[in-house]
Point group: C4
Chain length 196, copies 4
């Protein structure tokens, strides 16, 4: 089974998710600079979610670029990831509109954890299909970032009960961690290409 349509469908869904989040930036009724004030938390949430979804697209892109075959289980693992990503607009809007209240920040962290887990499952299935000596398997063998992110999300959820803004800062920290793009796969694929 070829991976082309899987990439196309994922690109479509992720493109829609990343774009409809902006619909939650409701146009203010007034026309002054002050009327933008209440939108600041919503805008901050939007920026963070845009970056996080962008990171998922970026890593998804790298990961599928390095793989060659997909199977039925991979299709479903991918849909599972898209499902959790699709909850990002809801989580983002609630966190922003509540001005970083406790429960919305906790829920947002929960959605992030579920995304992290879904991504890990997809990752493992792709490695299983590609084989243990594939460039993909070697590239992902030292994957500390995924696990670290999930651990930080879990810690941030606990922190949110005391200080939601600090938890938000921790989510931002995870985004920073990933903004350095995942060159491991790129490098290994390049090395493999060179060796052939």
């Amino acid at each position: 089974m070829k991976k082309g349509r899987l990439e196309a469908f994922s690109d479509g869904v992720i493109a829609i998710i990343i774009t409809i989040m902006v619909l939650e930036l409701h146009v203010p009724h007034g026309e002054g600079l002050r009327d933008l004030g209440p939108l600041i938390p919503v805008a901050l949430s939007y920026v963070l979610s845009f970056v996080l979804v962008g990171i998922y697209w970026n890593n998804h892109h790298h990961m599928l670029y390095a793989c060659t075959r997909v199977n039925g289980a991979i299709l479903w693992a991918n849909l599972n990831l898209l499902f959790w990503l699709s909850l990002m607009p809801f989580g983002t809007a609630w966190m922003g509109e509540s001005h970083f209240a406790k429960w919305p920040v906790v829920l947002y962290g929960g959605i992030l954890i579920m995304n992290g887990i879904a991504y890990t499952i997809l990752c493992n299935l792709l490695v299983k299909e590609a084989g243990p000596n594939s460039p993909l398997a070697l590239a992902l063998s030292r994957d500390w970032k995924g696990m670290t992110s999930i651990a930080i999300y879990a810690a941030a959820i606990a922190v949110a009960f005391l200080n939601p803004l600090l938890a938000f800062g921790m989510y931002v920290g995870v985004a920073m961690l990933w903004l350095i793009p995942d060159r491991r796969i790129e490098r290994n694929v390049a090395r493999e290409d060179g060796a052939e």
Copy 2:
């Protein structure tokens, strides 16, 4: 006529349908855990519809992968399927927001039946174009799942007048039936490829 653009357009429409359903998960005004309570039926409806639309995408993917040519009638049968799929967000939202009331659950079942019929029509036209001895025709010759699903939907609609929640459970049952991906086409295509 090539099938590439048909796949691309269908992927686009299905990606949008599966994603805009989440817009019905309206952000609660409060910021407590309790404020999520009324959203539970909407969220459950969303999960079911996400899975069902995901199943259609998955099977559409498999079916078109196995076919080689499309014609004008197939383009229209495909648009017909996309039309009925496009009613899923409406049906989902009404069922969720009414907390599984009788008529919304009946309407949802009706939309599912129309989707099933539209899929069957598309299927038959693809088999007709591919020829009676094509891998696609052989693969779909023992298609009991499609008919079973439509029968269960019809039964669920009758049940909904007495117990809408039980009808909802029957819709979930159909989703379960399909979650096992349609490996028949895959297998036949693989066999054919091996025989050549």
Copy 3:
């Protein structure tokens, strides 16, 4: 310049247009069968617009399939068509929500005429680029449908001032006219392919 990205972008925009129209089918507040009543005009408008936009996609698909090269002017003529198509959701919703009142039906007809003109412009630019003896030019040389449609739209707008429902019926008539897919291009391309 290759036509691939032009097709992909057009498919994306048309897929979104055809799908967001369903967002105007607002979920009723009640949960009875009666609550669907006021939605009937909106649903009828949606069906018509879905078919008309589907016809545009279909013909766009055929037309670009038969052409080989695009240029800057074609990109802009295509964006012009997409602009007028993007007004369909607005026109559809106003016509449906006003229960086929005079001005909304007139505006809807106006949007249809602008779409027809934009399509004709795109058509002519494609023929000019392909050359006067190209299969595309031959196929479109007997294009009576486009002109007939625009004439019927103009007549329907005049009729709308007396009887908006009759005008709506005329729009439906144009859709019928086109539902028979544009096999002329297909046939000419096939003939050309056979001749080579």
Copy 4:
């Protein structure tokens, strides 16, 4: 790394941005011609933004067509551009609904400047990757339009404090400047192709 998925994802996001802006054209409650009156500023803003986003798509198309390779930094520069483009629907709606009030016109100009800067960054990274003697580098070496546009946007923001409508006219002027498609890249690529 291939540029295919970058193009596909960008096309998807830009297609959604250009289309969801029309959702801000809210259907009027009345059914008379007069009820369209208050929509005129919103419609004018929509037309301008549709053209401006169309220009970005068009130039993005040309620029990526001329380039051959992408890298991680380019992926992020592209996401950065998509982020600023995604704020267009918000800026457009606020400017239209406020009937071209001072602050909304200023904000719109600010979003346009950020888009211009993001586009320039992407441009520079692509040229860097392609090398100083690539057709892309030669084509973009005389890029006066980008800088001129940013300068006009900055001037328009200053003007907006005195006369917002005049500032709006200046934005329209920039659109005019770009409507003549960027044939420089096309021509250089064509020349290069001819020389080989």
